[in-house]
Subunit: 230 residues, 2 copies
DNA sequence: ACCGGGCGTTTTGCATACTGTATGCTCGCC
DNA sequence: GGCGAGCATACAGTATGCAAAACGCCCGGT
């Protein structure tokens, strides 16, 4: 079952392997490929209209990002995470993003703050939407802007590793209207603190923001006991 | 010029790509392949006695680890780090290892503390040695024990990424006798704080320890202006 | 003499072909 | 009838071949 599992829209990058990693990553993050799903090289290659080689390279990349797990002679699967792992990752994320916020506060420029404000506005508009997908993207954008503003090249790939994964489980997380509201609030507060150059406060807000996200997610998981949304 | 640049000793893994990544990583870390060195796929394949495919995969892996830099159509080189990058990485390392120490304080067991004490003792003995290599290893061991004691599976690979790199520049860093003494002191203090379960203090000590290491390294770099050891 | 364009070489990127190993099934033996 | 060995199959791992892009070089022009 499930014939066309992955399928990109736009013409994509000119590099086949990069295109493959983008498409597969997208598919994993927005749930088309659920945790535990097998990723057969040949099948993916066929669906993406390319040979196995770039697919292999893409899978290798995704593995290094922690999205994919690969057992030596048995192929790759979408990595599934235990609750304890998620807890761990969110704590790490809190530490790292807190640090990012602290750095960003003293480095951010006015127009980047404007970007954050715009993101907040869009976030507000998207809250009404039923489909959480756009909201997830907007949220990711917000956090990425701060990450970039931190001005640490090494930080970005590190955080990506810890950020993207939990997104797999986001679907039902974002269904909570209160959570949407609270997240928007923290985004606004964060924007203000960064605009004011208040490093300590930005760090605190970000840390709390992430830890609350963890709490919500874990609570949902405990309630729904292992159901993987949609 | 350098014919046999890379060359492993033992029979290595039975997986060619894994073997390749190990050999190349070793070569980079211990300096046989200096920063900026070009890594031509065919050349490496020839020297390692395999085809280009596993070499490509190895390079991809090393790229994800930050040891190698690859420009799309122009091949891979050993990544060279500017002073600013090193600064960045050490700050990140301070944050991450500080967090690790904090977690470890409440999770560490008595026998693991004993391990740390033994490491301190060995460290003390090794201080006399001219060759810093053993000292580097002992230091790495100490930090790894704490990392493991932190009990966060996600933390270890993350820190590795930030720890391994600066090791390239380690050689002359450890030549300073005062630095040896100070490092040993911090290791002892850290061991005590962890043994006492004092999380806050362990974090502070570790953070300062790493940041001081950064300061020493950067000072050395500024003095020697771009000389790469030996 | 210096600069710009065209050609050859080098080297990556992708595709295809082959090999080895793990898995599941069936058949034969106990 | 249950169990283990052998076989078939499927798939990852590796090798090789091909095409296209980037770089250096040489040559002609100004």
């Amino acid at each position: 079952m499930g014939r066309v599992v992955v399928e990109g829209g736009p013409p994509l990058s000119r590099s086949a392997s990069a295109a493959a990693s983008e498409v597969i990553r997208e598919a994993i993050i927005d749930g088309r490929l659920g945790p535990g799903a097998r990723l057969k090289e040949e099948e993916l290659a066929r669906e993406l209209g390319m040979s196995r080689t770039p697919v292999r390279e893409a899978l290798l990349l995704l593995q290094s990002e922690g999205l994919v797990e690969s057992i030596p002679r048995r192929g790759a699967t979408v990595r599934s995470y235990a609750v304890d792992d998620l807890d761990d990752m969110y704590q790490l994320r809190a530490v790292l993003e807190g640090y990012a916020a602290r750095r960003a506060a003293t480095r951010i420029s006015a127009d980047v703050v404007a970007l954050l404000e715009e993101s907040c506005a869009r976030f507000d508009r998207l809250r009404a939407s039923d489909d959480p997908r756009d909201l997830v993207k907007e949220n990711l954008f917000f956090h990425n802007v701060i990450l970039d503003a931190a001005g640490s090249g090494r930080l970005v790939p590190l955080v990506r590793k810890v950020i993207e994964l939990p997104l797999v489980y986001r679907s039902f997380y974002w269904y909570s209207p209160e959570q949407k509201l609270i997240s928007e609030h923290y985004h606004k507060q964060l924007t203000r603190a960064l605009g004011a150059g208040d490093a300590k406060r930005a760090e605190i807000i970000m840390t709390e923001h992430v830890l609350e996200a963890r709490d919500f997610l874990l609570a949902q998981l405990a309630a729904d006991e292992g159901v993987s949304g949609s």
